[in-house]
């Protein structure tokens, strides 16, 4: 079932202490899509999710409307919205067994719609089978690991066959390894059952790995919504660019096509004036001698081989904050990198966001040769 949000704004508090949590937001989610809401804490992502669930009410004055398919649910109480909600800390009922937790939604249905107890039992066992927890049906939540509890919570949310599945930082409280497994498993489940899901996370890796589309939020606004690929390659603004990965900053003064910053120089085809360039760690090379286009001296302060590449931390007087460069193992060996070594950084590509919008430049061909 598709989700359509129209003019969803939200303020908390009243009078002087009234603060805006969400600017009026419009968002369309297709049936069967898995969308991630990504943003730092306080960006409004959880508020948006809770409004869709019906756990919070949007501002009344903006003509807010929430549609599930053709059904307008704006004024529908949470208990009648037919959503499944998965909480960050699982929110399992501690005094009920795993079975009773999963069955809860079915057993509280009005008597005329309620399945027979045999049907309920069969359905709960199917769900537990799906989340691979059949053998633990008689346990209490306190006897399960965090990952198991979260799977129970998911089974419980799916028991009512919701139109929409909403997940609030579903893996936030789990450790790294369990997160990985659950992420893959959720993606698999989603593809198999075809429900429409929306999940909240502050972890960019998780959002990019799991989602069909990611909505990046900050300050109560959706900054950009795109496929993970487009988002990473074509960030719509500086916030998105910075939030999606490590960034090196080069801030200086352009005069006559040359940007200077302390003893660092870089040829740029930009008008005169102050300028700030942003570079991803994989968009810089380390070389032993400066080129005519770029002379950015730096000292290696730390080296850490991580997976397929080596992360090199760099420091220099002209840097406001240390830079990070990722180099291939081959280059690492060729340059014979050591801590304290002095060398030069050569940008392959840089980005700039004058007034928040991006223009991207590849470095002049000559320097790549």
């Amino acid at each position: 079932m598709s989700i359509r949000l129209h003019n969803i704004g939200k303020h908390f508090g009243s009078g002087r202490q009234r603060t805006r949590a969400l600017e009026p937001i419009n968002l369309d989610i297709q049936e069967g899509e898995l969308v991630g809401l990504l943003g730092p804490s306080g960006s409004g992502k959880t508020t948006l999710l809770r409004i869709i669930a019906g756990l919070e009410n949007p501002d009344r004055d903006g003509g807010a409307r929430i549609l599930f398919g053709d059904r307008d649910v704006t004024d529908v109480h949470v208990r009648d919205r037919r959503i499944g909600f998965v909480f960050q800390h699982y929110a399992l009922f501690r005094h009920m067994t795993v079975f009773d937790n999963v069955a809860f939604g079915l057993t509280v249905m009005p008597r005329r719609n309620r399945p027979t107890s045999g049907e309920i039992r069969a359905r709960v066992h199917r769900l537990l089978e799906m989340v691979q927890l059949e053998s633990l049906a008689g346990r209490y939540p306190a006897q399960l690991s965090g990952g198991q509890q979260q799977r129970v919570s998911l089974a419980r949310a799916l028991a009512l066959r919701p139109d929409v599945l909403l997940l609030d930082e579903p893996f936030g409280a789990l450790d790294a390894k369990v997160r990985q497994d659950l992420r893959r498993w959720l993606r698999h489940l989603h593809d198999e059952l075809g429900f429409t899901s929306l999940f909240v996370t502050h972890d960019q890796e998780e959002a990019l790995e799991l989602s069909d589309r990611v909505a990046v939020m900050s300050n109560g606004r959706i900054e950009q919504i795109d496929t993970p690929d487009d988002l990473y390659r074509a960030p719509g603004n500086r916030f998105v660019f910075e939030f999606l990965g490590d960034v090196n900053h080069l801030e200086g003064e352009v005069r006559g096509g040359i940007l200077t910053c302390g003893d660092a120089r870089l040829s740029v085809e930009l008008p005169d004036g102050p300028e700030e360039l942003l570079l991803r760690p994989h968009e810089v090379r380390l070389v032993e001698a400066p080129s005519p286009e770029a002379r950015l001296p730096a000292t290696v302060t730390a080296i850490s081989p991580v997976g397929a590449e080596v992360r090199v931390e760099l420091a220099a007087d002209w840097m406001a904050a240390p830079w990070l460069a990722t180099v291939r193992h081959a280059d690492y060996e060729r340059l014979d990198l050591r801590r304290g070594q002095r060398l030069y950084v050569e940008p392959r590509r840089w980005h700039r966001f004058p007034e928040g919008r991006e223009t991207r430049r590849d470095a002049p061909r000559a320097s790549l040769a």
Binding site: G54, L55, E56, V78
Partner: protein, 275 residues
């Protein structure tokens, strides 16, 4: 934010019911005490309060309370320190034992002291031979008052000290702090408000104890009558206004206790908000 029972009608009905019942069961009696005490005007109230026997009763009550508090304080701190800072066999038993005074009927508490120290008791007989009379005199009143009030300080301190853990004290030990310095400079600042609250509760109970004291006091007017016993006698003598004049003094202490508690809680909440 959606929570259970948030519908305005439900909310209003429940608040109204709670306030109405509390007003009827709690506030009305409180008002009645003062209304009765001043029923015949301030002058009569004053002459009742400044009556010779009333003053003697107030004096005895204060005397007993002032002696009770330090004893309970020392015991409460020692026990709390013992059961929260060390583990040893019998620790849980000790914690259960101090709840006995809460479960024992005050009359039974008075009785067991009377049986032991009274003229017929095995210790009392011996004391009587040495001309020491504990029962039907102020030492007996003091002893049963200590019995009924001794758990309060410990009960306030134990959960707090358990929650705080002993890490700070261990750090102080590694820094070479000797025992009393450690307690005074590290432990005491952390527990002082709970300690104060324990003392306030001890005070309230010590001032107002009736059942146990009435068994061991003998209720000799002007001599072994505490304020609660005194007001009982006045009430039995149909001197209602006089009884309520004394009662109002005790009610005032109760109100101060509640105010102190609310103040301490407010303080703790504010500190938590700042942290």
């Amino acid at each position: 934010m959606q929570r259970i029972g948030d519908a305005p009608a439900v909310r209003r009905a429940l608040i109204l019911a709670a306030v109405a019942l509390a007003a009827l069961f709690l506030l009305l009696p409180l008002v009645a005490i003062f209304a009765q005490a001043f029923a015949q005007g301030v002058g009569v109230f004053w002459s009742n309060v400044s009556d010779h026997y009333t003053l003697r009763a107030i004096g005895l009550t204060l005397f007993i309370t002032v002696l009770t508090i330090p004893v309970c304080l020392v015991f409460g701190v020692a026990l709390a320190w013992l059961v929260t800072r060390f583990s040893f066999p019998g620790r849980r038993l000790l914690q259960t034992l101090i709840d006995i005074p809460f479960a024992v009927s005050p009359v039974v508490a008075g009785l067991i002291y009377l049986l032991l120290y009274g003229r017929n008791g095995w210790l009392g007989g011996w004391l009587d031979g040495h001309d020491v009379q504990l029962m039907f005199a102020w030492p007996g009143i003091l002893m049963v008052t200590i019995f009924v009030t001794c758990p309060f300080v410990a009960r306030e301190l134990i959960p707090l000290m358990q929650a705080q853990g002993s890490r700070e004290e261990e750090a102080a030990v590694t820094l070479g702090a000797p025992g009393w310095t450690l307690f005074r400079r590290v432990t005491l600042p952390n527990i002082r408000w709970a300690l104060l609250y324990g003392v306030i509760l001890t005070n309230a109970r010590a001032v107002g104890e009736f059942g146990a004291v009435s068994v061991v006091s003998g209720a000799i007017r002007g001599q072994t009558n505490t304020l609660p016993l005194h007001l009982e006698q006045l009430y039995q003598d149909y001197n209602t206004v006089g009884a309520f004049a004394s009662a109002s003094l005790l009610a005032l202490i109760a109100l101060l206790t509640l105010a102190a508690k609310a103040g301490l809680e407010w303080r703790a909440a504010r500190q938590e908000a700042l942290a």
